[in-house]
């Protein structure tokens, strides 16, 4: 069965969607990704959708769901490289995806993840890191 690969980069997971998403594929991705986050104790998820050209309300909702699920599992999600046409479609569908962080490309997405995860780490460790 067709699957979207989930790559591990340190404590982050990298998902690159390079095929047309259909409903079953989106659900499989949701399953796989939540499993992997738990398994690897990932701190951040980066989903690259720069090759995704067609999007419908279900895919949009699934993306939002994945982000919320990752949040519950204590991982930041950032969606990068959305095409203008996809963005317009989502807005016209009334899906502004308020819970999702977005970035222009993988580079700035990774930068954002590093920053936020580093900040989290710092606050978790408390005052011990200062000295």
């Amino acid at each position: 069965m067709e699957r979207i690969p989930i790559l591990r980069m340190g404590s982050y997971l990298l998902v690159t969607i390079q095929v047309d998403m259909h409903d079953r594929l989106a659900l499989t991705l949701q399953d796989d990704l939540t499993n992997r986050i738990c398994e690897l104790n990932a701190k951040g998820v980066l989903i690259d959708i720069s090759s995704l050209e067609i999007v419908d309300s279900f895919i949009g909702r699934t993306l939002a769901n994945i982000a919320s699920m990752a949040k519950v599992l204590d991982a930041e999600t950032v969606v990068v490289g959305m095409q203008p046409a996809v963005a317009i479609t989502l807005v016209e569908l009334g899906m502004s995806l308020p819970g999702i962080r977005t970035a222009l490309n993988v580079e700035s997405g990774m930068e954002y993840l590093r920053e936020t995860v580093a900040n989290h780490g710092a606050s978790d460790d408390g005052d011990g890191t200062e000295d």
Partner: protein, 293 residues
């Protein structure tokens, strides 16, 4: 069947002269069309009337024989629309043929009242229909001019300018409607991708009024930009517009708003980790103030 067409064909020169004389006496636009051109146009029209194939009648304007005449009139009125003639001037151009035909009818059948009346009513009907056709074509021509201008304005009115590396601005001028918003949104998003900009400033100084619809369009554009990973700053909000927005209950709380474009630019620079400082003059006496943004 009317005998008038035959009479015109016989007295072509006479009708031409009479028509031209009446047309010159009626409203003239010397500034838009000169005498020679007018004579040429009249002659061409009259030829289209007289040179119809046999069997074509005045009563039936839908006949194939009148097609060249109609096309000629349509072309003429469209060109007149472009030149700036008024609709009545264009219609009068055709209507002035009527008295000439009446004169001809009176000359030929002046003795017989019944026949004269029949011929006149046929001529009247014919010329009226031609005038209507001319007016229709005129309006069609004007519509085309308006549509073309609208299109040009749409293209001209949505420039996306790069203010700095990674900062684009979209100065909006004029009313925002659905069609324009679509163009605005597309060009902004395209520019964000092309220039790899993280910050987009939408300046609405030139937008005369903001109602709920315009605000919705703006919010859509801002949301779409956010989905792509760019941040939008809305600037150029005038006091009246701020009042309207609050009175209408439009929620702009999730949007960064600034009153001036310069404020928005300052913030954009700040967000991208930049700072503007004034260069100290080398021969200056006083301490030049270093302004950080």
């Amino acid at each position: 069947m009317s005998k008038l067409l035959g009479a015109i064909q016989e007295n072509r020169e006479l009708v031409l002269e009479d028509w031209l004389r009446r047309l010159k006496a009626a409203v003239r636009r010397q500034d838009l069309v000169n005498d020679r051109e007018l004579e040429f146009q009249i002659a061409e029209l009259l030829s289209a009337i007289t040179d119809v194939p046999a069997g074509t009648t005045f009563e039936d304007l839908t006949g194939a024989g009148w097609e060249p005449l109609k096309q000629l009139l349509a072309a003429l009125s469209i060109s007149r629309a472009n030149l700036g003639f008024t609709p009545s001037e264009t219609a009068l151009f055709v209507l002035s043929l009527k008295p000439s035909l009446f004169t001809l009818a009176r000359k030929n059948w002046g003795k017989d009242a019944a026949e004269l009346f029949a011929e006149i009513s046929v001529a009247d009907d014919f010329v009226d229909k031609l005038a209507l056709h001319t007016t229709d074509s005129y309006i069609h021509g004007r519509d085309q001019v308006i549509a073309r201008q609208q299109e040009e304005m749409l293209e001209l009115s949505t420039p996306v300018v790069t203010l700095w590396d990674g900062i684009v601005a979209l100065p909006l001028i004029g009313t925002l409607d659905s069609a324009r918003t679509q163009v605005v949104m597309e060009s902004l998003l395209q520019a964000i991708v092309q220039t790899n900009s993280r910050i987009a400033i939408i300046d609405i100084t030139g937008v005369p009024t903001v109602d709920t619809l315009v605000a919705q369009h703006l919010l859509k554009t801002i949301t779409a930009a956010r989905l792509m990973g760019a941040e939008c700053i809305l600037s150029g909000i005038r006091p009246q517009i701020a009042q309207t927005i609050v009175h209408l209950g439009i929620n702009l709380e999730d949007v960064i708003t600034k009153s001036k474009l310069s404020d928005a630019f300052r913030m954009a620079l700040e967000r991208s980790g930049r700072k503007v400082v004034r260069v100290e003059k080398s021969n200056g006496t006083g301490v030049a103030p270093t302004r950080s943004v």
